[in-house]
Symmetry: C2
Amino acid sequence: MLSKNQIKDLQSLQLKKIRDQKSLFIAEGSKTVLEILEQKPEIIKDLFVTEDFMTKQGEALETLGLSTVLVSQEELRKISLQPSPSGALAICHFLTHFEKEPNPTASISFFLDDIRDPGNLGTIMRLLAWFGHSTVYCSPSSCEVYNPKVIQASMGAFLRVQVVYRELNDLITEKKIKNIYGAVLDGRSLYTEKFSHGLIVIGNEANGISDINLELLSEKITIPAAQANSTESLNAAMATSIIAAEMFRQKLGS
Amino acid sequence: MLSKNQIKDLQSLQLKKIRDQKSLFIAEGSKTVLEILEQKPEIIKDLFVTEDFMTKQGEALETLGLSTVLVSQEELRKISLQPSPSGALAICHFLTHFEKEPNPTASISFFLDDIRDPGNLGTIMRLLAWFGHSTVYCSPSSCEVYNPKVIQASMGAFLRVQVVYRELNDLITEKKIKNIYGAVLDGRSLYTEKFSHGLIVIGNEANGISDINLELLSEKITIPAAQANSTESLNAAMATSIIAAEMFRQKLGS
């Protein structure tokens, strides 16, 4: 049974300010929690589970030596952000387990310029995990990785893809990056490029790449559309998925 | 000024039952409404606009001879599904303007098996519009195209991509389709296929392709991942975007 104060404390983690103060975030849902238990149980500070989850996973929890708090479905609903929360909710420490950043002079990384939609960021992390990326760069104005909606949409990929916040300009200087590709509507066809190293810059959902970052691009690329100058558009996550897939196809030599 | 009854009537269109009864749906947001005004103004039954929208678009509205109802931001909020509605909301007649369906023995179409998330369906419509598809097939259990969240996510693509609900089995028989590709986790690499005609079946977000439809596939295809047998997954919209892009790349001969 959770006290009113405990519930209030847990709910407060829905605010970025409190997450930053405490270096804690919420990860919830049976699937996500099971993935944490499997891959990084040490990040869990507190674990709240329903009786149903406990019945199914009790043994695993015991093996890990994790102390868990049994909660009712109603209590879970109170501390959850989901309309119908499922099974388990973990309070986790901020992630520090990632190895060093990739070397953008030897491989390709993505840079998200002012991405704002948490669902998009989580989806892109999930996608980049599929294609073996360990890092995604974001401008400092972008959505926060510990936003519960990012964690949710990433479907566990937050455990494998680190998000590094950096100004594009600083990143380029610091890592001496030569090839800066920007995904725009009026560039060269994606399929005329041979990608070997550098950065792919993906713009904001509504406004594309910012003016200041447009000037830093060495090459503009476009995903060919069926009709030139059409009214169609692609969202940031779709554009990223198509470009990341094409880069991976080239790597495979298919 | 809207009466209480008018507001109630408009709000009732948020329910599928009422939409079906009246053959009407809601399309909202300045961008979407402007696209309807440009491409298919004849589908608009009623148009509600804020003063700000009227000031900017009054001339266009007059040219079209559309009668519009001026509403306050507060009234717009009441009839809108958006937390911060923007500018205009149109009540539209169901779409009947589409030409005949494509011929799947001469080109490739997508079939969505039990797609449930309205955001995913809308996103896929937007994506298919980009690659020049005029139709997407959905199993009858799939999400309804006139769901306001589908319309919203499609970003106007609902005007150009028709959604046809059909059982996969019936569609195959009726159109005598030979190549039925299914996107699965354990198929042949997407990049070993040369696509010329047929159907691509995309599975449900949580459960993939249904057992009954799995048996109808003539070929299973997979988007290669960096790590075989990894815990990663792709969502339906991302998988569709990668496959549709690859088909279009082949068509371009890139």
